[in-house]
Symmetry: C2
Subunit: 373 residues, 2 copies
């Protein structure tokens, strides 16, 4: 039967296909079972007002009983809605957010699945790749909106999505927030509060180890640090500030630089816990003892901070909650909410542990050591 070669022309280079056995129950099945038109069933299920309450009840019950689940992409094709949130991770640099990732994903995916949405994640090598990946997901309409973590002051991702009119929400702030929804933790306030705390303990020579300056958060945290120092009339010479410190080894190097100063600081504020963990090592090498003659306060609240020696005093961010908030806000944005109304700033919470004590280094005998309540 040579006719077979004409029938069913199969694509080349594609193997046999594993077909799922039992056919799923479609909306037509439900309609037939009820003697209704499938359009009616669809409208009943989607809450259109032109369906009688009794009918709606009949339909929802039958759908439930028959185990009907609408096919996501069949709806998507007409509604233009994939019911998926997008997240593009930069796997290139910045190990900084690795520890949070599980919590972050969990927060997002939990909030998303509450509404039967899902989370699509992709990774990119560098910034250009990141933008390209966003474009691809948009082109294929795989996702309805994006969460953009680690925002920069000038962020090409924002430019792309703004131009394409795709909904998005920032985790962090940016230079020009026009038309942007965002959620962020008030790192600047945490830095300022940390300085208040150190100043109240009598410190006046305080170092600062900051994160990646290309990111907005680093700018904000430095501002918070500088503002609080100025408010207390404390000097902030450039040699006391190290920036672009993202990892433990970098933190160690930065710490050594500060501690080897002719007049080393008695307290050091770190914008990242990882930097602080590196600083611990630097202190050990420099013969200083954190919690005794060197006070350290940090920011992030990674689990390792609790089991460090001494336990690290840090301003913790609830990454899971952040993920949940971001997902919920993005959903609102996708559903048409005005981005300008979707802006939330949440404080970091202080977890006071032992590292910010430094009784052996009460620095300035001239300055009065104020008592704490």
């Amino acid at each position: 039967m040579t006719a077979d070669t004409r029938q069913m022309p199969k694509p080349v280079s594609k193997g046999p296909v594993a077909r799922p056995g039992p056919r799923r129950v479609t909306i037509s099945d439900v309609a037939d079972a009820l003697g209704l038109a499938k359009g009616t069933v669809s409208r009943a299920l989607n809450g259109y007002p032109d369906i009688a309450e009794a009918t709606r009840l009949r339909v929802t019950r039958a759908a439930e009983r028959m185990g009907y689940r609408p096919l996501a992409q069949a709806q998507a094709i007409r509604t233009g809605r994939a019911r998926a949130l997008g997240l593009v991770l930069n796997a290139g640099r910045s190990d900084a957010h690795k520890p949070f990732l599980t919590d972050f994903l969990d927060g997002i995916s939990r909030a998303a699945s509450e509404e039967s949405w899902t989370l699509t994640v992709a990774t990119a090598m560098d910034e250009a790749d990141e933008v390209a990946t966003l474009g691809r997901l948009v082109d294929e309409r795989k996702v309805d909106g994006f969460i953009l973590p680690r925002t920069k002051l000038h962020d090409p991702r924002i430019d792309l999505l703004r131009e394409r009119a795709v909904p998005f929400i920032l985790y962090g702030r940016t230079a020009d927030p026009t038309g942007c929804a965002w959620f962020d933790i008030a790192g600047e306030e945490a830095m300022a509060a940390a300085i208040d705390r150190l100043h109240a303990a009598g410190h006046w020579r305080i170092g600062f180890i900051n994160g990646g300056t290309e990111y907005t958060y680093a700018r904000l945290r430095r501002d918070g640090f500088l503002a609080a120092m100025a408010r207390h009339g404390l000097p902030t010479p450039p040699e006391l500030i190290v920036e672009d410190v993202l990892t433990i080894p970098q933190g160690e190097a930065a710490g050594l630089r500060l501690l080897d100063l002719p007049e080393p600081p008695t307290a050091i504020l770190c914008a990242l816990d990882l930097a602080a963990l590196g600083l611990y090592r630097a202190a050990a090498r420099a013969g200083r003892r954190v919690g005794h003659d060197l006070a350290v306060i940090s920011y992030d609240g990674i689990p390792e901070a609790a089991t460090a020696e001494p336990p690290l005093t840090t301003y913790a961010v609830d990454t899971r909650a952040a993920g949940e908030n971001l997902a919920r806000m993005l959903l609102a944005r996708i559903r048409g909410a005005d981005p300008e109304t979707l802006r939330v700033l949440v404080p970091a919470v202080l977890i006071a542990r032992g590292s910010d004590r430094a009784p052996d280094a009460i620095p300035d005998p001239a300055g009065p050591a104020r008592q704490l309540a």
Copy 2:
């Protein structure tokens, strides 16, 4: 105009919708521009053999020029293929794989996007939730197959997917691998090699700190440990084995238990780097010095192992490569490959650093300390 209330009945409780402005270019646009039928364009693009080579070229070029990107879910509805891989993370317990997550996701998503597939991730609280989430994703046809990390000896996820005839691949092995594709690292061989190494250095009293015994990997690593010990004729009394150690604090507790023994081990093998890091603390508290009078070998290759003091000798797994392999194998499985042929076992690679030296504890003067080449 009361007629408006009859026109366009909008669903209740759904706000205004942000519509994308410029309409995308569809397959019909391409067909019209070329004067072809859209079916022809589709077949040309998908490599059907009944399209002339010249036509195929014309079509692909035009599609490229016009910026045509097929709409993922429009294809999915007919082909039954969402072009998405699924991954359900258990956010409940087991902090163990947190450090790898970024690399893992990166590996998967990289291999997936090579073929224009995407990765959908969801999280679950516990095992039941995990199975429910898998079911939901399958019901909505959001994904075409799953990667199942952290497999157990008896794994309900496998039962579900097997029953539903959904393609999947295990990261790890399981008791009954019938019809399962899997990829795994040969942890048992690594454990055995570690024992060989310690034995060659003269150790004969060796402790073992294992991971979570509900997982297959722990069973395998214990088997590897026991087999190698037996092969060398070394005793393995129960008090030298601690199991279900997943975190740094648990590792510290386990270490203390071993080091406080009347006759403590001179070397300890850990199934997880995190356990070893905890053991470091236990050693410090017990007055033992890792790399001097206590040898430690571990497994995983987390970054912290390199910067620990002393640097940790460990058998490293390339998590990114694992993700890539898993994704590629799952794609093959989805495309119909026989699961029994999709089974890959890869060795862990030894990263020899300082922690497995213990010159001050050469244990048995009676036994000949063999020389290493």
